[in-house]
């Protein structure tokens, strides 16, 4: 079947199987692999994305159910200031600075869940943060720094000044890239 989904601000028309889960559509067809699969059973929260502004576990939703919706993934969280520079979302800065991550596998889901929390409760208490993350498991950090990262983001929710958070100059690109840019994706806008 054909679906039309606005993903991170871009409208995509795609052919998907009826049984394709939203997470596999994002990962396999759109190559947005920042959304991770940790369980298939809605237990771990690694696959959390926003659908029409609400945090959902994308392993429990069919791609077809997102037809006509706006989806935001971790790749869409940074603020694109200009064609060449982007600034991290305060939650991304918070997780980075407060060491709210180790292996990084649960991180995108944690950030997406936390973003939903901060939208409804801009200044959550520690207890409220801990309750709100009930559906996200982290096996590395012991959670303390994740709570701190979200508290940090809550107090830095204004957009940082441009150039203040410049990317450090590194000797080389830190990532191994093996991106395939072809696929069945049709961009209409």
């Amino acid at each position: 079947m054909q679906i039309q989904v606005t993903v991170n601000g871009k409208t995509r028309k795609s052919e998907v199987e009826d049984r394709t889960l939203l997470v596999h559509y994002l990962r396999d067809q759109l190559h947005l692999t920042g959304t991770h699969v940790g369980c298939d059973t809605s237990s771990c929260g690694a696959c959390t994305v926003h659908v029409d502004g609400v945090a959902v576990k994308s392993c429990t939703l069919l791609a077809a159910q997102a037809d006509g919706c706006a989806v935001t993934t971790i790749e869409g969280m940074a603020i694109q200031d200009s064609p060449t520079t982007s600034q991290l979302h305060p939650l991304q800065e918070g997780f980075k600075e407060c060491h709210g991550l180790q292996c990084g596998f649960c991180t995108p889901g944690m950030i997406m869940t936390a973003a939903d929390l901060l939208k409804h409760n801009p200044n959550p208490s520690e207890a409220e943060i801990r309750e709100a993350l009930e559906g996200n498991i982290c096996r590395c950090t012991g959670y303390h720094n994740i709570v701190k990262a979200i508290q940090w983001a809550a107090t830095h929710s204004t957009k940082p000044e441009p150039n203040q958070q410049e990317e450090p100059v590194v000797a080389d690109e830190h990532l191994f890239t093996n991106d395939v840019t072809t696929g069945e994706v049709v961009e209409t806008h």
Partner: protein
């Protein structure tokens, strides 16, 4: 003296990649025309496959092939070829080898299709018939078959139980205060958040690039090369990011075998990812039964100590861990006996899981010491100090460093231990029982040889690489710090890369040894690069460095300077220009100083103090407060190290209260094989956790003086929690985890 970044709380250099979704794990690399494989698992525990019907699966659109033992390619014949670098003694499991079923959940078929959805559906249509045979999976019902494990190369890092000392039987019989106790621990599965996956990219020339979830890319390369008879140069394993390991990635798992087999047969790229349920179908922390006898004087002096452990293993390999040695090294008891045995059962071979054996054995001895303290009417901390030893009684040699006494003192003070009322059930608040408990942690500080490469690039930046792993520990960051400090460069001018078999060889990431092992290689290779730079400086016309030796110079602010006169300096960039504008490259190996290290016992230590609240009516337990003081040599980065310890403490809470894979022995199958029923702590389970580092100077463990912090955080926690629960409730629970039903 010119250290700038070692010891500083530097934020992770991989942080940005991980918060933006750009960090790629094994299942996230792709290739044109990638095929997807889904594994079919056996539903019986022991027996034979009598019939496989793949007709319905193959009839589906998009299904390319179903691999089973009947149509798999011919592969290496000898067991030896299937032994990875971490294989215990025995005959390794071979996926799709023949019709025999050795354990429940064993892979019996791989369905390969054009899309994941097609493969998954087709896998559900593969019909398998079995002839079942009776199985044995219950350790406690087969303790009578316990035997000594086979020994092998593994005993180099995992020593057998220490020799008996003195006369235990006599000393125990004559001891005025005696304690005999036992502890039972269940199965546990590592459950890193990332599912085991391998993406095998099939090159035009048949060469393979494999993105694998592993704690050691070289181990996966070795295994694939041996099993499939492919030269090393034709197999490249890449693993830049690993979504947690905790030991599960120390051995190649069966998805690697299956993905490589399929890619080679189909001459096309293939990805195989396991499901969360299938994450319970390979190595695990073994179930154990332990027995401890302690004989003491009324003043607490231990005369006699016996520690015996029995663990399960598979029918095909003898998994070994060090369980009983720790108690003998921690307390000086002059009469002691140790025993360690295994019971082969119809299960997969156990596998090292965070502080393997250490957290098991220390949980038992530290609970036993707590029991003894109540028998003696003595403070538990005082009992530890009474039997404190400055020398390792197992090996009769000194410790390379041991600041455990300072750990006890500092953690006790931070916790407020002196305010404890010794009587159990004496600290209640309404219906809430409050308990305080403490315990000790010990873990190895091993070093292995490793290699690294350093390049000063044409633009004066430093690149260092080594085929180690970062399973979330912070390796990228601390290696960048070490390299930056050694050559006096700012962090942003240094790039450290890992997880690629094209890089110089390093051991897998495990046993808390990466910081000391790879860190030493990085330090040495950067020093060697510095020596090359000095050579270039000396060759320059009228060089002020003409007579300088390496010890006469230091590196700071992108310059090499003379120690005697720091105003004599030269930019590293100038030296690159001096080299004809070419990059300067060195490779080095860090060896271990076995002669020196062999004279010492090298351990990290910790002291843990815990407060629990137990609901008197419901039996629910909350760990409201915990303090851990850690002596682990030099701390390279307090930010990453502290997070390691806190993560370890939460693993301790998990082991003490939540984590256990429960088996239905009628079927030989794990029942709670998902993250809904396999309980691990979530955010709201965790309360106040405090970490203190007691720094140690140790020039024996390795050139950096670091002991590693990946595992010491978990070791003391479960016993401290169990002891606090006894203090709160007066109930001594001898089985972990302490779930509420055991307190009702």
């Amino acid at each position: 003296m010119h250290n700038q970044v070692i010891g500083k709380p530097i934020s992770r250099v991989d942080g940005r990649a991980k918060v933006t979704g750009k960090a790629k794990y094994a299942a996230e690399f792709t290739a044109p025309d990638l095929l997807h494989g889904v594994v079919v698992s056996s539903t019986i525990t022991k027996g034979r496959i009598t019939h496989i019907d793949t007709g319905d699966a193959l009839a589906l659109d998009g299904v390319v092939k179903v691999f089973t033992h009947q149509n798999r390619p011919k592969l290496a014949w000898f067991d030896m070829s299937y032994k990875d670098l971490d294989a215990p003694p025995g005959s390794p499991f071979r996926p799709l080898h023949n019709d025999r079923i050795k354990y429940n959940g064993q892979p019996v078929a791989l369905v390969v299709a054009e899309t994941f959805e097609q493969a998954r559906y087709a896998a559900s249509l593969v019909k398998i018939e079995y002839a079942q045979e009776p199985h044995e999976t219950d350790l406690q019902h087969h303790l009578d078959t316990a035997r000594k494990p086979a020994s092998g190369l593994a005993s180099l890092l995992k020593p057998p139980p220490p020799k008996a000392r003195g006369n235990f039987d006599k000393a125990f019989t004559e001891a005025p205060v005696q304690l005999s106790t036992g502890y039972v621990h269940g199965f546990e599965h590592h459950n890193p958040m990332e599912l085991f996956s391998s993406t095998v990219v099939y090159g035009k020339d048949g060469k393979l690039t494999i993105y694998d979830k592993t704690q050691g890319a070289p181990n996966s390369q070795f295994y694939v090369s041996q099993v499939f008879n492919i030269p090393f140069r034709d197999v490249r394993v890449v693993s830049p990011y690993v979504g947690g390991g905790f030991g599960s990635g120390l051995r190649p798992q069966y998805q690697l075998f299956l993905a490589v087999m399929a890619a080679r047969e189909l001459k096309q790229s293939v990805r195989v990812s396991l499901t969360r349920q299938q994450m319970f179908t390979f190595g695990h922390r073994p179930a154990t039964v332990q027995h401890i006898d302690l004989g003491a004087q009324p003043d607490g002096t231990l005369d006699a100590l016996r520690h015996a452990a029995t663990a399960e293993t598979s029918r095909f390999e003898d998994y070994i861990e060090v369980v009983v040695n720790w108690s003998g090294a921690l307390y000086k008891a002059p009469n002691a006996q140790f025993d360690y045995n295994v019971v082969p059962l119809d299960q997969y071979t156990p596998l090292d899981m965070r502080a393997p054996g250490g957290v098991t054995g220390m949980s038992a001895i530290e609970c036993a010491m707590d029991e003894l303290s109540y028998k003696l009417g003595m403070d538990p901390l005082e009992l530890r100090l009474k039997n404190y030893t400055e020398e390792d009684p197992n090996e009769k040699r000194p410790f390379s460093s041991k600041q455990l006494r300072a750990c006890y003192q500092q953690a006790a003070e931070r916790f407020g231990w002196t305010k404890r009322s010794p009587e159990p059930r004496s600290m209640r608040e309404g219906h809430t029982l409050i308990g305080w408990g403490m315990a000790t942690g010990v873990w190895d500080a091993n070093q292995l040889p490793a290699r690294a490469e350093a390049v000063l690039t044409v633009n004066g930046k430093l690149r260092v690489s080594s085929a180690t792993a970062d399973i979330g520990t912070g390796t990228y960051t601390i290696m960048t710090q070490i390299a930056a400090d050694t050559l006096g460069l700012p962090l942003e001018d240094v790039l450290f890369r890992l997880g690629d078999t094209d890089m110089p060889l390093a051991p897998f990431q495990g046993g808390s040894l990466t910081a000391g092992t790879v860190g030493s290689a990085v330090k040495i290779v950067c020093e060697d690069l510095g020596k090359e730079l000095l050579k270039l400086a000396r060759k320059m016309p009228n060089s002020p460095f003409a007579k300088a030796k390496f010890d006469d110079v230091f590196f700071v602010e992108k310059q090499m300077r003379l120690k005697a006169d720091p105003s004599v300096r030269i930019d590293l960039q100038t030296l690159v220009d001096q080299n004809g504008g070419r990059a300067i490259r060195t490779t080095a190996t860090s060896m271990t100083n076995s002669l020196k290290q062999g004279k010492y016992t090298r351990y990290a230590h910790s002291a843990v103090f815990v407060e629990v609240q137990v609901d008197e009516d419901l039996g629910t337990v909350k760990v409201t407060r915990a303090v851990t003081a850690v002596a682990a040599g030099r701390i390279l980065n307090p930010k990453t190290a502290r997070s390691q310890i806190i993560g370890g403490m939460v693993w301790g809470i998990s082991k003490a209260l939540e984590e256990e894979t429960v088996m239905d022995h009628r079927y030989g199958r794990f029942m709670n094989h998902n993250l809904a029923e396999y309980h691990v702590p979530v955010c709201a389970d965790i309360h106040e956790l405090d970490v203190l580092f007691v720094e140690e100077h140790d020039d024996v463990v390795n050139p950096l003086g670091v002991k590693g912090v990946g595992e010491i955080g978990i070791v003391g926690m479960p016993a401290a929690i169990a002891n606090a629960i006894f203090h709160a409730t007066g109930k001594r629970v001898h089985e972990l985890p302490i779930t509420l039903d055991k307190l009702m």
